[in-house]
């Protein structure tokens, strides 16, 4: 996909996030929207996968450690044909095939997450497992900035560096907010790019809504392996891409009544050349 197509794909992911969460009446929209551009790059251009065979052994792996952003992952997976689009309508409903937190039972999901702080360790395990078996694919992991409060994240960070897991690329969704407010007010973690570097990682800071920047940074990390894991700090906005959601100060997990859904979709359909999919 070229950058224009990736941007449109990101827009489609957002549309589906809104529709799915809207159908349910509410959910974790802020942190889902902040990773849509990343997901469009990953599923549009970077990752190797086979929707017909989600457990294909040669696929690249993706662990969404901030499991509450599952609506965004599911939307990308549905758009890429891992399961029918209609499944999105049953997001987080009783008896659903798509639980609100990222769940391994969903085709295309590599890890069950939702208890924050566990996914990076799983990603380390996958990366290390692939390495010792001489398998060459990449492992991607998405963590939240609030999630980086958890001690287990830093245990995994040490592990990845110690075992030279240069097949591991972790994205830190730096949207500057968690549940109780801004990271700065809840738990200051300082300069995260520097922290990871001092843990023995490569680290880069990019605009998390600029698909070209994201894509080039991932390409370089995959191509120029140097024995270190890579962390990409995505400078993002919680609720990104839909101004009426961005403007809500606490948009972590909110009700999404029909009126708001319409407003959101109205904004998204302004993106030029959109291929409407429902």
């Amino acid at each position: 996909m070229n950058n224009k197509e990736i941007a449109l794909f990101a827009n489609d992911i957002r549309r589906n996030v809104v529709c799915a969460i809207g159908k349910k009446g509410g959910g974790h929209i802020g942190g889902s929207l902040s990773i849509c551009d990343l997901l469009a790059v990953l599923y549009g251009e970077i990752m190797k996968y086979d929707p017909e065979n989600p457990d294909w052994e040669e696929r690249d792996y993706l662990v969404c450690s901030k499991g509450h952003a599952a609506p965004a992952i599911y939307s990308a997976l549905a758009l890429k044909g891992f399961f029918p689009m209609e499944w999105l309508e049953e997001l987080n409903r009783p008896g659903t095939r798509l639980p609100g937190h990222s769940d391994r039972k969903v085709p295309g999901i590599d890890a069950t997450t939702g208890s924050l702080g566990q996914g990076l360790s799983i990603a380390c395990g996958i990366a290390h497992g692939l390495k010792v078996q001489g398998r060459g694919q990449s492992v991607f992991c998405i963590t939240g900035d609030g999630e980086n409060d958890e001690g287990q994240i830093w245990e995994a960070a040490a592990y990845a560096a110690n075992y030279n897991l240069d097949n591991l690329i972790m994205f830190l969704d730096w949207n500057k907010k968690q549940i109780d407010g801004r990271n700065e007010d809840v738990m200051r973690l300082g300069d995260l790019a520097m922290k990871y570097r001092s843990f023995g990682w490569n680290s880069h800071r990019v605009n998390g809504h600029d698909v070209e920047e994201i894509r080039q940074t991932i390409y370089t990390a995959v191509r120029d392996k140097n024995g270190k894991p890579t962390m990409i700090l995505l400078d993002t906005v919680k609720g990104a891409g839909i101004s009426c959601i961005e403007q809500i100060e606490n948009n972590h997990c909110i009700g999404l009544p029909e009126k708001l859904v319409k407003e959101c979709l109205g904004e998204l359909s302004l993106v030029q050349g959109i291929c409407l999919k429902n």
Binding site: N92, G100, E150, M187
Partner: protein
Amino acid sequence: MEHIIYTGDKPVKEIFEVFSETLEELFHEDSSVVYIDADLMASMRTKDLWEKYPKNVFNTGIQEANMVGVAGGMNLTGLKPYIHSFAPFAVRRCFDQIYVTVGYAHKSVRIIGSEPGICATDNGGTHMTFEDMALMRTIPEACVIDISDAGMFRQLLKKTKDRRGVTYFRTPRRGLPDIYAPETVFEIGKGKILREGHDAAVIASGIMVSSALQAAELLHEEGIEVSVIDPVTVKPLDYDLIEMFARKTKAIVTVENHSITGGLGSAVAETVSERYPVPVERIGVYDRFGQVGNEAFLREQYLLTTEEIVNRVKNLVKRKNEI
């Protein structure tokens, strides 16, 4: 028997309101009381306190294990910590820290685990704890309280301020109907008799107490009279009360929003089998993980309904009469 005011209506005050009010009262009564949360103040609606009491309220961010350790350390300096997170993260996520730093080291820390069991509803399987009471019950000297009423919560939060060891409260954040009259006095280790009948005793805790009361009424209409007991503290259990009702009714049914392994049902069955063996039926979750759903759906899924209590009591009474 206890004076109860249960109607099934909405409570006068929700648990989260009572929590904030009680903490505030505690801060005024004793400046050494502190409250720590791990990025779930917004969920428990305590952010106002965080602003208002900077010397008493702290946020660790998403660090449950660290929060337990910090609470243990603060207690060593004379502070009296109350810590909160969702039940899975307050217990399961940091069990060793609770066991060693608080339990084994005899610190005084109160842990509030909110939205236990099916109360996790839309948060689904990762957030659904059917094992928290089982885990906490195994810690020596720990106290485990399955909150069934806002007044109970308020009183026991206060009464355990100086209690040594692990004190664990599991409670929904809202929607718990009032059961007890305002003058009710609650004690650790003292159960409550909510209704008396000789055919069977239904021992229910937490959100299942009101279901047990409803079931008792339905059974009464069919001519079956049951006692309803709320143990208040699942540990220490009111052993004498359980034994008394085993002797009186010769048939016990336990009901809990928890796995039947390790929680109230286990505690009662252990007591009954050692003190006065009679048949015990345990209603609760059978060796299953949680899932997404609203409360009504989850009650059906895990057989935590009034009908289930009615049916199980009837079967048990029949079985008892055949013996």
